[in-house]
Structures are given as structure tokens and as C-alpha cells.
Symmetry: C2
Subunit: 227 residues, 2 copies
């Protein structure tokens, strides 16, 4: 960030912030599919043409909200790891899972925006990939760095999977045994899947409140990885 910002730059930043804040309110009240630049402009008392100078299209506003959500979640995940840097790996695994759930419960609409139903007609641009990767990379990185107890190899990867695993370990988790990576990816699916089940009401009447089933799942995935 430059040391000196002009009044115009500051005003632009402030208005960008307000536009995104109003857009997030609309995610909660109407849903991402209904997000409309016109409605945002109206709520802020702006003319649409002024808003278009900040976000030329609904898609660019959506992308900004998605980037913010992935960034906040990535920050929460990485902070959980930083705060437990000297703790045993299993404790760090717990901290990472809990930080993810805490963020999602505090920001259910932003969680749904990134891990829920896609908005028809919208495709997230490649610029979101890096932010999106922060949570899974935090999970896989923890596992890669941890001293792991030996675990049974489990099912044999078949078809395209061995090559997919090889490519994945080479680029993102060098040194991780393939069956461990496959389980780590499964754990990521379980983490997000379980939070979705909780937030979207699929555990009502059975495992609601979900705190203890979530805690059990943390231990179960940690066991499967040998953490």
C-alpha cells in the first residue's frame, strides 16, 4: 500500500467497501443468485452508472465477494495454524477444523457463496484459484509436515486416480504418500460437507447441535491420516 493516498483514492476505497458490504447484506436476504447491481445502487442511494465505475457487472461484484470470502476463510485457517505452530499436529488439525467451522457459522452466506450452489451463468475466473486453494493447502501442508503414524494403505487407487494423485503431490504436497493425500482430500470434503450439512439443516433432529459430531469427525479423520 502506498504511504500517501490521495483523498480520491481513500474515497474510492471507502465506497468499494460500502458496496461490498451492501452486496453481502443482499446475499443474506435474497441470495447470491438475486444479487443485482441496481438493487445495491438503490440501497446506497447511488445511480447505477456511478456503481458501474466500481463494478462494471454483476459478475465482477460476485467475484469480489468470492475473493473476500476465500481470503477471510484462508486467513482464519492460516491464523489457526500460526497460533498452534508449536503444538502437536493433532491439536493443529483440531484448530484448523474449528477455525473453518467458526468462520462458516459466523458467515453462513459467504460459506454458501463459495461452497454452496453456484450462481447460474456465473463462472469464477482463474484469479480466484489461489485464494480458494488456501484452506485445502493449509490442511494438506499440516499433514505433510506432521510426523505421521503408519496407517494401512487402504483401497488401491485405480483408473485415472494414480496419475491425478501423482500430479497433485508433485505440485502441491511433495513427499506425501499417495494414500495419505487421498485421505487428506477426503478429509477436506468431509470438513466442508459436514459444515454444509450443519448450516443447511440436514442434521436437525439427529446430530444438532453438531459440536460433538464435528469433534468426533476431527478425531476420526486425524486417526485415518495417522496424525
Amino acid at each position: 500500500m502506498p504511504a500517501i493516498r490521495t483523498a480520491r483514492e481513500r474515497a474510492r476505497e471507502e465506497l468499494t467497501r460500502e458496496i461490498k458490504q451492501e452486496a453481502r447484506r443482499q446475499l443474506a436476504s435474497a441470495g447470491a443468485q438475486q444479487l443485482s447491481l441496481r438493487a445495491v445502487a438503490r440501497e446506497l442511494g447511488m445511480v447505477s452508472s456511478a456503481l458501474y465505475r466500481y463494478f462494471p457487472s454483476r459478475d465482477e461484484l460476485l467475484t469480489a465477494l468470492i475473493m473476500d470470502a476465500y481470503t477471510e476463510l484462508g486467513d482464519a485457517a492460516e491464523q489457526a495454524l500460526a497460533a498452534t505452530a508449536d503444538a502437536p499436529a493433532r491439536e493443529r488439525w483440531r484448530a484448523l477444523w474449528q477455525a473453518t467451522r467458526d468462520w462458516a457459522r459466523a458467515n453462513p452466506h459467504e460459506f454458501a457463496l463459495i461452497y454452496g450452489t453456484p450462481v447460474p451463468g456465473y463462472a469464477a475466473p482463474k484469479t480466484t484459484i489461489e485464494a480458494a486453494a488456501r484452506l485445502p493447502l493449509a490442511l494438506f501442508g499440516l499433514v505433510r509436515e506432521a510426523p505421521l503414524n503408519p496407517t494401512p494403505p487402504g483401497p488401491t487407487p485405480r483408473g485415472a486416480l494414480p496419475e491425478q494423485l501423482t500430479r497433485f503431490t508433485a505440485t502441491l504436497a511433495p513427499g506425501l504418500p499417495q494414500h495419505t493425500l487421498a485421505r487428506a482430500v477426503s478429509a477436506w470434503v468431509q470438513l466442508i460437507g459436514l459444515i454444509g450439512f450443519e448450516l443447511h439443516g440436514h442434521l436437525v433432529g439427529s446430530f444438532d447441535p453438531a459440536d460433538d459430531f464435528f469433534a468426533w469427525t476431527i478425531e476420526q479423520t486425524a486417526d485415518s491420516l495417522g496424525l
Copy 2:
């Protein structure tokens, strides 16, 4: 169904079918959050007041679509079990998972309607619970009836979880050991979570196509259950 239906009854059924068909088209093109009775009426060349006689509100139309989706998915799951009634349990487990994925891939918008982001302001009525339970009950029922290899007990359930598991086994899966039920619920979360990851683009660039990672997950969950 009564043996004799009047022409008026037949016309009503036919129109109900057409309304739902048009509404499903709108799920795909605009998303569930944007579903509007007025838009459905317009597409069908009806006046809104005529449509209201079939579906008095957007919520009732949504509920009908949700019921249909849960029913189709439940049918697919139960047919997979019926078609493999004499097969080994692990083969039935595979058939059930594949049938769920096949249905979801053929009906991604209906899958998102029931397992994706909820529609703001809409709460599914209790009448949907029975249809919603068919897939998890198919999963748990298969596990309950199968001869299971012994598996390590895994993490100890804590807090509210032992009581939640007891209540759940008593009503829905009598005789199933608690640690097996917890793993079966986890498997349900993994099944839905992985299909969501696949359909919503989270595996692009890593485990896409997802066929073989899906197949690996089937074996891995079957192993964990002792199937």
C-alpha cells in the same frame, strides 16, 4: 389412484406437471432463489391468478420441487438396492453410491435444490422429512443388514454425541453399533459432499474427472464400516 378420473382431474394433473417442469427449467437457468410464480405463469401463457390455484405461493411450488427431488433420489437409491438384493453388501454399497451420483449428475439443479444453498426466507415444511430420509435410511439400512467385519471402535463419542447416537440408533437403525452408525453418517456426508465438490467445480484441475476418486471413496468408506 382412483380407477376413474374425471377430465377435470386429468387436466389438473397435466397442468401441475407442466408447471413443475417449467419451474425446474427456471432452477437451471436462474436458480431456486429467483424462482417466481409470475415468471412461471408467463412462460406457460397463464395468468398468475390461474397459477395460484395450483400453487398458492412460491414456497408451495418450491416445496413441490423439493419433494419431487427427494422422491426421485430416494427411488434411485432404493432401486439400486433392489437390483442388487442378492449381491454382497459391498457391491450393494457401490450400487447405492453410484446411483446417487448418477442421479445428481443427471439432475444437478435438483441436487443443489435439496443439498445446496437454502433459499433465503424459505423453510422446508416437516412434510418433506420422510422423503428426505430415504437416501440416508437406504445407506444405514444396508449397513445394518450387512454382515460386518470387526472394525476398531475409533474415537470415543463425547458430550451430546453418545445420546444423539443412542436416540438415532433406537429410532432409525436398531442394533447398529454406535461407532458404526457414526461412520455411516460420515459416509453419507462424504457421499453428498463429494458429489457437491464434483458438480460445483472444486475438483477441477485436481480430481476431475472424479470417477476414480469417487470409486476410491466408496471402497474407503466400505472399509471403514467393515462392509
